[in-house]
Structures are given as C-alpha cells and as structure tokens.
C-alpha cells in the first residue's frame, strides 16, 4: 500500500518535471500580454486567441498593437516545414527500407564496410559540414530551395533508416518470401505482400525518428534558406515586433509547431509500441 502511494507520487513528480515546460508554452500562447510577464506567474487567467489570430494573419490589425510590421510569415513557413519534413521522411524511409532489405537478404560484397560507411555519415557534428554544404549548395543553385533541404534531410536520415530497418527485416524469417516465391509470386511481389506488412511497426518507428529529426532541424535551415524555403524553426525564433520579442506569438507558433509530430506519433502508436520493443523480446 505504502509502496503504491509512493509509486504514484514518484510518477506524478516525473510528469510535472516533463510536462511543465510544455504547459508553460501552451499557457503562454493563450495569455494576454500583461499576464505573460506576471510575477508570480498566473495559473488562472482570462484566455485569448489573439496570438493565434495574428500568427495566421486572420486579424492583422491586432498585430500592429504588438509592433508587428507587415504580415506574419509563419503560415508559409509552417507549410514549408510540412512539405520538407514530410517528403524527406517518406524518401528516407522508402530508400532505407529497400536498401535494408538488400543488405538483409542478399550477399552484398563488403557488406560490413558499406554499412559502416553509411553510419559514418552520422559521425560528424553537422556544424563541421555547414560551410562546405553552403558552398556546394550555392554552386548548385540549391540555396533556399525545397529540394535542397529535402535532399539534405534525406541524406542525414538515410543512414539511420538503413540501420534501423535492417534490424527489423533481419527479424523476419527469409522463408516468408521464399514461401511466397514457391507459391507463385515474384520476389518483388513477395516483398510488398509479405515483408512490408511485417515491417510496418519498424517502418512506423523509423518514420517517427526521421520526422522528428527533419522537423526540428534548425542549423541547416538557418544557413541554407532565407525566404522561399525557410522552415518554421528558424522563423519562430525570429518572431519579433518593433517593441521587443513577441513572446505570445512565439508560444502560439511553438504550440502549432508541436502538433503535427504529436498527431503523427499518435496515429502510428499502435505500431510504434511493438516497433520500439522489436528484437528485445524473443518471439
């Protein structure tokens, strides 16, 4: 009994520790301007949607009060984020799954060296390759393009996707597609009919990791884009009015920015739970 109560308290403490910052941001996004700075902080306050309305340019006249000049840039950049993170995730998971299948099922010459090489692309801190990328991208005319960021994120996530998916596919017995091949299917058909459904949980887990990485990426988005292809992370940081930092709108931006990943993770949670424990539990 005592132990149960203690366990409850511990869990509550942990929840408070992890959820407080999120609460803080979400609450701030609904607070009126003076309440945001109130000390001691107000836990009960009269809510407002003004920060969201100005963020999405629905009531632009309100924005002027906060010293905003011109329209909010958030909507197009949020869209950029969705397109760039989404497309790069789809690409890295798709390519990763195919190459993982090849590594898992065929005798690839120098397999271990190749796999290590693929992983090694993750070993450099991104900041080291920042300048070279900038130079190369400028030469190729990829600066401030969607395709530029998509390619970059895909490259970075691919190594991760290959390694993760290889682990998942290794766990699927080879006989699964062999049985299908004897039963009248080609290897390609067998892959789609048999291996893919089995690998779904792995694909979900991999996709979540890739999406989070691409979604949150700040550094390259900052140096490789300016206007057209700029994503949400650098632009949220830059929300400023003439009268200082517009905390309310930043909080609203962050809250909106949180949503897609939460929703996606929620949608695939069924697969995820199995995916994350895959290989841990022996079947």
């Amino acid at each position: 009994m005592v132990w149960k109560v203690a366990k409850g308290i511990l869990i509550a403490l942990a929840l408070v520790f992890f959820l407080l910052p999120i609460y803080w941001i979400v609450a701030t996004s609904f607070k009126q301007w003076p309440d945001i700075f109130a000390i001691p902080p107000k836990f009960v306050f009269r809510g407002t949607l003004v920060h969201y309305l100005t963020l999405f340019n629905i009531r632009p006249e309100e924005a002027a009060k906060f010293g905003q000049v011109g329209k909010s840039l958030f909507p197009p950049r949020f869209l950029n984020s969705i397109v760039i993170a989404g497309v790069s995730t789809v690409l890295s998971v798709a390519l990763g799954t195919f190459s993982a299948y090849a590594f898992s099922r065929f005798r690839v010459r120098g397999e271990n060296d190749l796999l290590f090489f693929i992983l090694s692309t993750r070993m450099l801190p991104p900041i080291v390759v920042g300048i070279p990328f900038f130079v190369v991208y400028r030469a190729l005319g990829l600066i401030d393009t969607h395709i530029g960021l998509i390619l970059l994120y895909m490259t970075f996530n691919l190594s991760f996707a290959v390694w993760l998916m290889k682990g998942f596919i290794d766990e699927i017995p080879r006989e699964f597609e062999e049985a299908a091949m004897v039963d009248g299917y080609t290897r390609f058909e067998a892959f789609f009919k048999v291996i893919l459904p089995q690998a779904l949980s792995g694909i979900a887990a991999t996709a979540v990791f890739c999406l989070i990485a691409a979604w949150n990426e700040f550094f390259f988005a900052l140096i490789l884009t300016s206007e057209k292809a700029r994503t949400a992370p650098p632009s949220i940081a830059a929300i400023q009015g003439t009268s200082g930092i517009n905390w309310g709108q930043i909080a609203a931006g962050v809250t909106v920015f949180l949503l897609p990943v939460v929703v996606f993770t929620f949608l695939v949670r069924k697969y995820l739970a199995r995916g994350l424990t895959f290989g841990v539990i022996k079947r």
């Binding site: 062999e178 299908a180 091949m181 004897v182 039963d183 009248g184 299917y185 058909e189 048999v194 089995q198």
Partner: protein
C-alpha cells in the same frame, strides 16, 4: 502428379560441400523420405528441387523437363517449411488463399472459397478460418501450412521437417494423418527428416544422406534389415545395432569381443570370400536371452514401456538386447544369450560397406 530426378547434383556454400554427386529419383505418387543427420544436405536438396537454390553442377528434372534456371514460382512445387511460415497479418483463410491470389495462379474468388472449404474439411480446420495464425496451437498451424500447400494442387509436396516443432504426442498423431493424406491425395511427397522413426514409418522409400553423399535408397525394411554400410546401420534403428569384430578362419567365425566361435557356413551365406577381419553387426532384437551356451552379465535394464532394453556385459563388451516387457532380469544376473545366426550382417572394416 509428378516425378523428380536429380542427376549428379553438386552444391557448395563457401568452404562447405553441401551435396556431392547426388543422383536420386522421386517416383510419381510416392512418399520418399530423405533421412540424415544435421548438415547432411537434406534441406539443400529440397531447396534445389524447389528452385530456391541453384545447383553448382548437375541437373534437376521435374516430369522430364530440365528445371535448372527456372524460377521457383514456375515449378509448381509446394514447400512446407519447418517453422510453418504462416503470415501473421493474414487470417487463416487469407493464408490459404494466398497462393491462389498470385498473378500466376490467379483464381476467381468463388473458386478460391470452394477450394479452401474443401481443404479445410479434409484437414479439419473449418472452425479456424477466420483466426489469425498466432491464435493457433502448433498442431493447428501445421495443418494450415499443409493446407496452403494443398490448395493449388501442386505437382509435388516438398516438406522440410514439418513435424519437428510439434511435441512427441502430437507428432505421432500427425504422422498417421500425413501418411493417409498422401495416400488419399495420391500426391508425390518429398519429405526431409533427421528422425529415423519418422522416416521408417512414413516413407514408401527412404533415402539416407550423410555429408552430402547419398548412402542408400530403399524401402524401410531394406534399409533396416540390409543397411548398405555402417553409417546407415547405426543411424537407423533404436537402440543402435551392435557391432563386433569378427575373424573368419578355417570354417569358423571368431568373435573376439565375445570369445565366441560360430560355424561360418551357418552365418555367412554370401559367395565371396570374407576378408581376414570383418565388422559383424546384429540388431538388438536378434540376440535372444535365456538360450544358448554362453553367458553374459546383466549390466542395466531399461524399461521402455512396450519392451525393455537389456545391456548385457560380455567381457569388456556391452551388448544391447531387446526383450519383451514381460521378461524380468535384475542387474548383476548371469544370463545365457544366443545370436540369431541368420541375422548377422557383415561389413568391410575399411570401406565400411556391407558384404554379401
């Protein structure tokens, strides 16, 4: 309906020679069991017939057509794997329908339903059709795997130790069912196992394989009573055949281990002249206790239920003797024993081949 011929098939994996000069014929409508220890090349043979593996040398014929280079799906074989390999995301019904929904065997859904219902009735799995495989017991999974092989009436059933994951009791029951299923279908079964009891009881013929080399092909009785060599003699039968050193000389056969001399003409019917040293083999049931003039000491009695195994010590040698379960012997007892003369087998000690 089909026959399979393997001719001089060789297969090597890296440093391991899996098959050497394998020549074997599976006749139409026959239940052929390929028997051998782990690593003998049994599974490789099946995989070569199915097309999942290509031979390095030699040819594979199905119904007289050379199959080398033909894709697995175009060979019309069914493969039943040791671990069943049912698709966990599909119901039993969809697992059974799986082969019929391929482009190659594209069948209309009404016909699929008819065939599945028929197969399910034969295998007594009608009540399981809507379940997922992970909700089935081992025996039920085994039946579904068989069903998936049966639905498209393949030319030949290739079976890779399909009973080895079942517990002992279920295995015995499935053995009978499998055998009668094969007879009722009139189908060609090519069945792989390491269990000699399974091989003896299931096979119309048994092919014994060791280290990639075919040792003997014959009916279960032939393989048991006239093993081609020492390996087959030891591998088939439980408990193992007894082996003794024998020295034929001057019309007598001296069995050194037992300090025994037998009349050579009573035990050796062959025409050829025996070498000066031979290996003499005798099955445990061909030694009779309580008769004969020489005596051994009971070293151990093992009750197996239906019969008993007595280990009889003669000098330094232990003989395995099968006795009826009614027989009572106690450890340390001195018992006379008799070797049934006409049941002695002779092997060349160097080539290990059976003589005569």
């Amino acid at each position: 309906m089909a026959e399979v011929v393997l001719r001089d098939v060789e297969k090597r994996f890296g440093k391991i020679q899996a098959l050497r000069g394998m020549t074997l014929e599976v006749r139409d409508g026959e239940f052929l069991v390929l028997l051998g220890p782990t690593g003998a090349g049994k599974t490789t043979t099946l995989r070569i017939v199915s097309g999942l593996e290509e031979p390095d040398r030699g040819d594979v014929f199905i119904d007289g057509v050379r199959m080398n280079g033909v894709a697995p799906r175009d060979r019309n074989c069914a493969f039943v794997f040791q671990n069943y390999i049912l698709y966990p995301h599909l119901t039993v019904y969809d697992n059974l329908a799986f082969p019929l929904r391929s482009k190659l065997w594209r069948t209309e859904e009404g016909e699929i339903r008819k065939r599945i219902e028929h197969v399910a009735r034969v295998l007594k799995i009608e009540h399981l059709l809507q379940r997922k495989p992970d909700k089935l017991s081992g025996g039920e999974q085994q039946r579904v795997a068989l069903g998936r092989a049966m639905v498209r009436n393949p030319r030949i059933f290739l079976m890779d130790e399909p009973l080895s994951n079942l517990d002992a009791k279920l295995r015995e029951e499935m053995r009978v069912e499998l055998k009668s299923l094969q007879k009722n279908l009139g189908a060609t079964f090519f069945f792989v196992t390491h269990d000699h009891v399974e091989a003896m009881t299931l096979g119309d013929r048994v092919a014994v394989l060791n280290q990639g080399v075919l040792q003997q092909v014959g009916t279960p009785e032939e393989v048991y009573e006239y093993p081609a060599n020492v390996f087959v003699a030891r591998f088939v039968g439980n408990p193992e055949m007894n082996f003794l050193e024998g020295f034929p000389e001057g019309g007598k056969l001296y069995l050194g281990d037992l300090a025994l001399a037998l009349d050579l003409e009573k035990v050796w019917k062959g025409r050829e002249v025996l070498p000066s040293r031979v290996l003499v083999g005798i099955r445990p049931e061909n030694i009779l206790l309580g008769q004969g003039g020489t005596v051994g000491e009971v070293y151990l009695v093992e009750d197996l239920g239906a019969d008993k195994i007595v280990r009889l010590r003669v000098g330094e040698t232990l003989l395995r003797v099968r006795v009826p379960k009614e027989a009572e012997f106690s450890v340390g007892e001195k018992v006379p024993y008799l070797l049934v003369h006409e049941k002695l087998l002779f092997f060349d000690p160097i080539t290990e081949k059976r003589l005569g």
